[in-house]
Symmetry: C2
Subunit: 218 residues, 2 copies
């Protein structure tokens, strides 16, 4: 027993079985998202999701091929948007790798604070996707990592970054992963009630990242 998952504290899932006024696909997506966030994909049933938006189980299959496809749909849209805003932030930050890194971290952290539940679902539930569907999510993650690796490489080449070395070698990929892990998991504990706001959090993380890679003063 104990199929219950810790509640991620979220607007309580309404017991109200009233029909959601939005178009059904959207209503289903929203209900599924809320439930996945709160209880986790494997223990949320199709019946749960459909009840939450005032429909019956069978109706799901008029809009999605399967529960699996529904999850993919939810994660893919979050992830795609993330990739987009990261690219955009870096592109609009000018030519200095320091500015690029700061802009990247800033946007990434801001987004993981503001949309922390979305980020949480995208990161936590991805492992339940079937092998075929998980592939493009992973591709997008790798793409984001590569943006960061590129910035670091540029910074080193131009002599504005001096990241730590071990045994005389640098592993920029490892450093990029470390920074990403750090920024990603803000979404696991950040709450709007905390001491720092989103912008302040973003600034703190950008500072730490610049220090970690040994950015020369601008």
């Amino acid at each position: 027993m104990s199929k219950q998952r810790k509640p991620v504290r979220l607007a309580a899932v309404p017991v109200a079985p009233e029909r959601d006024p939005r178009p059904p696909v959207e209503a289903i997506r929203a209900a599924a998202f809320a439930q996945f966030a709160e209880r986790g994909y494997p223990v949320v049933t199709v019946r749960d999701i459909m009840k939450a938006c005032g429909l019956t189980q069978g109706a799901l299959y008029n809009h999605f091929k399967s529960k699996d496809e529904l999850l993919h749909d939810i994660i893919a849209s979050t992830q795609g948007e993330l990739e987009r805003v990261c690219q955009q932030a870096v592109a609009g930050a000018g030519d200095d790798p320091r500015a690029k890194l700061a802009a990247f971290v800033r946007v990434y952290v801001m987004r993981h604070c503001r949309l922390r539940v979305e980020a949480l679902v995208a990161n936590r539930e991805i492992s339940w996707l079937g092998a075929e569907r998980v592939a493009d999510i992973r591709r997008s993650r790798r793409a984001i990592r590569d943006i960061l690796v590129t910035i670091l490489t540029q910074g080193v080449e131009r002599g504005v970054f001096d990241p730590p070395q071990v045994d005389g070698r640098r592993d920029l990929k490892a450093i990029a992963m470390a920074l990403l892990d750090q920024c990603t998991h803000v979404s696991m504990w950040y709450g709007p009630g905390g001491e720092l706001g989103e912008e302040q959090m973003a600034k703190l993380y950008a500072d730490m990242a610049l220090r970690a890679v040994g950015a020369k003063p601008q």
Copy 2:
């Protein structure tokens, strides 16, 4: 469909239904651990676990009260050990906060590389524990975080750390969380086949942590 979870690449779970030679409690723990790591708690059945160690479903309940208790048992031992080694590392590192921080990160990262599957299970599956059982795991996590906060506070007081500020204020708890997130999630991607070994990884992370908190040269 698709109850499959991404394989975490692990010694393949033997199809062999031969009886595990170890004492049953231990065999069950080991089998459960391997399966949880590979496929995730909610989709691993009691039948799966018991078959993997050559017993039948019912026998589980001679050793554990429930599947939930089994999971707690596994996570709690990993977590307890982690807390212990962290305390030990800090205690044995002398008086300088820089040495303490380096020792802490070193041990923490080493452990998360070497026992990455254990760490992964402890971090990923904790949310399936019932409310009562999750409490002491969280307590231990908080204790580890507090070790780190204490080190940072000492370092600032003695003037050997100069961590980033936002709007003139410092949030040492946020910084501690950021460092912990970074170090914890090495276990999600580190593989022994990578460019850096465990010790090198630990050194890299210790370097980054010292830089992030603005440690003065020793």
